[in-house]
């Protein structure tokens, strides 16, 4: 990843809005879709994330998806399903999936599910 991309990724997440507005958790910058993941990611929360992300992927024609785990304190396999599902949608067009601000717990979950092979985990 080059520096320009890094700057985009870093600066974007300084523009945080309020957590309670769901649509603010999705932002398109250039051809990147940025998804701010909620505090708890489970099956109950996963469909709104998947559906909205897919809408942006189709309508805004983004190539890459970045998942920001900064606020996330809990995740189960539904989070893996969200990432895997988005990867399948964009990978055939050469898109990439990134995970940022993932703590050790989330990194461990990505590891044991083998997702670290398809998701670029960044600081």
């Amino acid at each position: 990843m080059d520096t320009k991309e890094n700057i985009i990724l870093c600066s974007l997440f300084d523009l945080r809005g309020k957590e309670n507005c769901m649509m603010e958790n999705f932002k398109v910058i250039d051809n990147y879709l940025m998804v701010r993941m909620p505090e708890e990611i489970d099956h109950h929360k996963s469909s709104y994330i998947s559906e909205n992300a897919d809408r942006f992927i189709v309508q805004e024609k983004v190539d890459h998806v970045v998942f920001d785990f900064e606020n996330t304190k809990f995740m189960d396999s539904s989070g893996i399903g969200i990432i895997l599902g988005r990867y399948k949608k964009i990978a055939c067009f050469g898109g990439k999936v990134f995970a940022i601000n993932a703590d050790n717990r989330i990194r461990h979950l990505l590891m044991i599910s083998g997702l670290h092979k398809i998701v670029e985990i960044m600081e």
Binding site: F74, S77, H108, I112
Partner: protein, 148 residues
């Protein structure tokens, strides 16, 4: 030390968070580490989610039962549903196997339960329901360090 807890709730996804937090709160008397609490919450979340979306196909009206038992420093958790049951348990437990890919399921539910608990047992009868029995020793030092 012995302590038991039972609960029953509607099989709806809004109760997933409630179920895992309730079990985590129950086990707090064993003074688990934050990591152990996360392990238990993840495993309970997987089992309850499975009961709701696979046991009852996401249709409301079913009930999920959880029974927790603390014996010495071991937590036993049983998650029961009276739903569809599992035809092929061995296949269901394979990593990445899922019967509901359209729902963005990852097929990692059982592998996560196995990874985060010390023991996992699956009892299921087709048409009658499924019981997941998990055990975890709290406060033990792992024998093998996690590989990085």
């Amino acid at each position: 030390m012995k302590n038991e807890m039972k609960m029953e709730f509607d099989a709806i996804s809004a109760n997933e968070a409630f179920a895992r937090v309730a079990v985590a709160a129950f086990v707090s008397e064993l003074d688990p580490t934050l990591e152990e609490v996360s392990d238990i919450k993840t495993a309970v979340s997987e089992a309850v989610t499975n009961a709701i979306i696979h046991g009852y196909d996401g249709i409301e009206g079913g009930k999920v039962n959880i029974r927790c038992l603390i014996e010495q420093d071991v937590l036993h958790v049983e998650v029961m549903d009276k739903g569809n049951g599992i035809e092929d348990i061995e296949k269901a437990m394979e990593p990445l196997f899922t019967t509901k890919p359209e729902l963005n399921r990852s097929g990692m539910g059982f592998p996560f339960m196995e990874a985060f608990m010390d023991d996992l047992e699956v009892l299921s009868v087709v048409g009658e329901g499924t019981t997941i029995i998990m055990k975890k020793k709290i406060g033990c030092i792992p024998w093998i360090e996690d590989e990085e």
